[in-house]
């Protein structure tokens, strides 16, 4: 099986221990309003258009076989309905205003790319993190990839939102050294409203996973107005406190730095009124969580 990849980032230091390469797979089972990588939500190829970089040269309009682009008085118009994502326009866009998101890659190709940094993994106790999107929507690919990496003695982490069938988690269990497991909210109604899906599977899978003694790092995105109030934090803390084997928690602050990508992808951004939580707020939240006997990872 080939994987649907959206990005491969070398030298990542916030997705698990040490220096890592993070592979972002395309397609997600959630659609969180605050998502910072909106290009990873759809499983299909997409083309982003960064208008701030576009000089209106018209190279895309000349190249496109489907007349997606028209140049009107030096200004570019795009009709995405006509687009079949062949990517010819992005190859011709010398200003990087048009960017392709999504390509296929085999396990072997991916392994040879991530192994380039083997020395760095070894010296930092780092490795490879499979992220997304929701990587476990491509569970077979993930399992094959991790199996190949384990054969090379590479530390492997899976960054999951948990909204997948248990069988998908089961498929990677033999190979994953660490799960980075996102938890957004325990309240199902709010969860549905902000992520588009129920949290039932997420909580069930986490409970089940926590029984298995595999290392898990819980990641809570702190979203003002959604889960940053005391009651929300308490329900999360209570839920986690009751689970066996869950000890470490990392709070990820919301930042509104993804807006440009939403614009480029022509996806409405629903978080315009929300701003980054203050350091004070962050400290209060982590202190509150810590009171549930959780170890908070602080990289500040």
């Amino acid at each position: 099986v080939n994987g649907r990849i959206v990005d491969i980032k070398k030298f990542t230091v916030h997705d698990g221990p040490g220096i890592r390469t993070t592979v972002f797979l395309k397609g997600c089972s959630l659609a969180c309003r605050w998502c910072h990588n909106p290009e990873s939500i759809s499983p299909n190829p997409q083309i982003g258009w960064f208008k701030n970089k576009c000089v209106g040269c018209g190279a895309c309009a000349e190249t496109c076989p489907n007349n997606v682009y028209t140049l009107v008085n030096g200004e570019l118009k795009r009709d995405t309905k006509r687009c079949n994502y062949c990517g010819k326009c992005t190859a011709k866009c010398m200003y990087d205003a048009l960017v392709s998101y999504g390509y296929k890659m085999s396990v072997d190709e991916l392994v040879s790319i991530v192994l380039e940094d083997k020395t760095f993994y070894k010296n930092s106790n780092g490795g490879v993190t499979i992220s997304g999107g929701e990587p476990l929507l491509q569970a077979k690919f993930c399992a094959d990839l991790l199996k190949a990496l384990k054969a090379e003695k590479i530390n492997c982490a899976i960054d999951t939102c948990g909204a997948v069938n248990w069988s998908a988690l089961e498929a990677v269990l033999p190979y994953a050294d660490l799960f980075l497991y996102d938890l957004k909210h325990v309240n199902d109604k709010l969860h549905k409203e902000y992520t588009g899906s129920s949290n039932r599977k997420i909580l069930e899978n986490l409970s089940r996973l926590s029984e298995l003694q595999v290392p898990i790092e819980i990641r809570i995105p702190l979203i003002p107005g959604f889960n940053d109030d005391n009651a929300s934090i308490d329900t999360i803390g209570e839920f986690l406190g009751k689970l066996n084997g869950i000890k470490t928690v990392k709070v990820l602050e919301y930042h509104d730095l993804a807006h440009s990508k939403y614009k480029a992808l022509n996806i409405p951004y629903k978080m315009l009124q929300v701003s980054k939580p203050s350091i004070d707020k962050l400290n209060r939240v982590t202190a509150r969580l810590a009171s549930y006997k959780l170890d908070i990872i602080d990289e500040h």
Binding site: K9, H36, M94, L257, H259, S260, H300
Partner: protein, 681 residues
């Protein structure tokens, strides 16, 4: 009573500005100058080394002095740069005589010079013998050379006595009679030697391995109760501040080396450096497998906090390299960086690292100008070497002619008197008196060369996007009218620094061939030329004389810096940059290579950041890197990135779980990030 450093910091920072020399303590500079003129008229046939020694002695015995009662260390003698001016005049006269209008450079391609300005005296010998011991050692032998040495050391000893008479000081009393006994006396002697050697026209770059050569003095003082830890810190602060005060931190600077084995003084020194928070002096670390992790962590914490002048050297690799290029294993252990990073054996080697600066990238421009339109790629590639190699020969021939005149320009008895091999051979450093005599040949723009060759190969021969004739025309027109072709070259061809073999193999091949070609040449002093791979700021200077290049670079823009990628072209992060660089056998560049690494503060902050930087250094060195220094992006740089996004397309902004390129952000978003960068710093 000496005040505490922090109380009089400003005074110390400005101690060399408008020094109040005591008018009654000696002759005015005008009087000194006229006495010197009379002397030259009286002895027109005198050897230059004796003339210089006479002037040195005159200044020491008759020049005005100043002693600041608030300073631990005494070093002020009014010499008005008269000896430096003498060097300049002599240099110009002999330069004209030697070259008679013949150019010593090809603008944009290379320049050559006499480099006398990278000295590391043998501090260990200095502390062992003291000024008196060095004088007596030379006095045992006969001949003009030894007389000159005795003359300058007599002058120096007399000067110490004069300072002490002017304002009594226990260290000076000891140094007027013999070698230093204490930590303070050793530093006092280093101050005096530094001041007088620079007066003599030989600028010092390296102050030696601080935690090694001062350790015994420090240990004895502490153990005997003569000195407290706090007093030792105060002494170091007063001592180090002199080197920042001299240049006001604007240029050059002094290098103090540390490691590889750390001791109490190593830790104490970095504590001092942190408290002083200055960019000068510059500290370097010899990092070996025996360097303690605690000390490496101490050094990295300084780097994290923005003290980015610290250079880290791959100790085992440097020692191996020096042995490979002719040093004995014992001498190789005693190497020091004698400039920014150039290694030389302390007190035994006179390396002139800056004698030739050669812009490898200019060769591409010249080849593309003259190559015939139907040439194959292989023909272009060979034409490059056929053009560059004779130019290397020319540059080397010019550098040798400079060296030939050195003994007439600036014989240096004060330095030679400290060099054991000069005393044994009976000749001055300017006449190859040193045990090792090397001449550096700096190769600039390796990244631009690799990128250009890859672009020619891909655009013309693989993808056939344009003909060779078209590409040549585009370059001659500085890409005017060929913007799409330029952007294709810039954005659609792999670049050096991204771990792409398609381009990296050119850098490896060119570096190998050029280094071998350079290293086989003997210099005028019986030693060898040694290749280097770095650029200082010449990538800008030479760049402004270099026309358009096939990699999409426009005429006049800088060529690639040091061993790194073309500006903003390392788009795959630091690990890929290191993987590219270490494909080159860097030991072929014994006169140094350096890698610049840039980080955003969020990538290397906190405890994890220490581990990250450590792993980067260890991995670089494990793969064959020789030296590295770090820049951590601050808010000011981000401001510049806002204004000039084209220069910063490699700047990754990554905050806990997502990433975006800084230049992709909208203005408001950039503002936010700048604010958080300010927070992080």
């Amino acid at each position: 009573m000496v005040k505490r450093f922090e109380q009089i910091r400003e005074l110390l920072e400005n101690q060399y500005i408008d020094v109040k020399f005591d008018p009654s303590s000696g002759l005015s500079p005008e009087k000194i100058a006229s006495e010197f003129e009379e002397h030259r008229k009286e002895y027109p046939e005198e050897t230059h080394i004796m003339t210089k020694a006479w002037l040195f002695h005159l200044l020491c015995t008759k020049g005005r002095i100043a002693v600041d009662a608030e300073d631990y260390f005494v070093d002020k003698l009014e010499h008005n740069n008269i000896m430096l001016k003498l060097r300049g005049e002599t240099h110009l006269r002999l330069y004209n005589m030697e070259f008679q209008g013949e150019p010593t450079e090809v603008p944009g391609l290379y320049n050559t010079r006499l480099d006398v300005s990278h000295i590391c005296p043998n501090w260990v010998e200095l502390f062992k013998h003291g000024l008196v011991g060095l004088r007596d050692r030379a006095a045992q032998k006969e001949g003009v050379f030894y007389q000159a040495i005795v003359k300058v050391y007599d002058g120096a000893i007399e000067l110490v006595k004069r300072w002490n008479a002017h304002c009594p000081n226990p260290s000076l009393a000891v140094l007027a009679k013999g070698p230093p006994q204490t930590f303070r006396e050793a530093m006092q002697l280093a101050c005096i030697y530094h001041e007088l050697l620079e007066m003599d026209g030989e600028p010092i770059r390296s102050m030696g391995g601080f935690d090694q050569i001062y350790y015994d003095f420090y240990r004895n003082d502490i153990d005997s109760g003569r000195l407290s830890r706090d007093e030792a810190k105060e002494l170091i602060k007063f001592f180090w501040m002199k080197f920042r005060a001299k240049t006001q931190g604007k240029e050059f600077g002094k290098n103090f080396l540390f490691g590889p084995i750390a001791n109490e003084l190593s830790f104490l020194s970095f504590e001092v450096y942190r408290e002083m928070n200055v960019g000068d002096p510059k500290l370097s670390l010899r990092l070996s497998k025996d360097t303690s992790p605690e000390f490496l962590e101490t050094v990295i914490k300084c780097i994290q906090d923005g003290m980015t002048s610290v250079v880290i050297l791959n100790d085992e690799k440097w020692i191996d390299t020096l042995i490979r290029y002719g040093k004995t294993p014992e001498d190789a252990q005693n190497y020091v960086p004698i400039g920014c990073y150039e290694p030389a054996v302390m007190g035994e080697e006179l390396n002139c690292p800056n004698a030739v600066n050669f812009n490898l990238a200019k060769g591409i421009e010249l080849v593309m100008r003259d190559i015939r339109d139907n040439a194959s790629f292989e023909e272009i590639y060979q034409a490059y070497f056929q053009l560059v190699e004779p130019e290397i020969d020319n540059a080397i021939a010019l550098a040798k002619r400079f060296e030939k005149r050195w003994n007439e320009i600036n014989p240096a008895p004060f330095l030679s008197g400290l060099m054991t091999s000069c005393l044994e051979k009976g000749c001055d450093i300017s006449e190859a008196g040193a045990k090792y005599n090397t001449t550096g040949f700096i190769c600039i723009g390796i990244g631009s060369v690799a990128d250009s060759l890859a672009a020619i190969e891909q655009l013309v021969y693989k993808d056939k996007i344009c003909s060779l004739a078209e590409l040549k025309k585009a370059l001659l027109a500085d890409w005017q009218g060929y913007e799409m072709l330029r952007l294709t070259a810039r954005n659609r061809v792999p670049k050096w620094g991204n771990n792409k073999n398609q381009v990296d193999h050119f850098a490896v091949e060119v570096a190998d061939r050029v280094a071998k070609y350079i290293n086989k040449n003997k210099n005028y002093r019986g030693g060898y030329f040694t290749a280097a791979l770095y650029s200082i700021n010449y990538s800008n200077g030479f760049g402004s004389f270099t026309g358009a290049l096939p990699d999409g670079r426009k005429a006049g823009e800088p060529v690639s810096r040091n061993t790194g990628a073309m500006t903003a072209m390392d788009r795959n992060g630091v690990t890929a940059l290191i993987n590219s660089l270490t494909k080159i056998d860097l030991t072929q560049f014994p006169s140094a290579t350096i890698l610049d690494v840039m980080f955003h503060p969020t990538a290397v902050s906190g405890n994890k950041g220490i581990q990250t930087i450590t792993a980067i250094i260890r991995s670089l060195f494990e793969q064959g890197g020789m030296a590295v220094h770090f820049n951590i992006f601050d808010a000011n740089v981000l401001r510049d990135a806002q204004k000039h996004p084209e220069k910063y397309s490699n700047l990754q902004v990554r905050v806990c779980g997502w990433n975006v390129r800084f230049t992709d952000l909208e203005l408001k978003e950039q503002e936010l990030f700048i604010a958080s960068a300010e927070e992080a710093s």
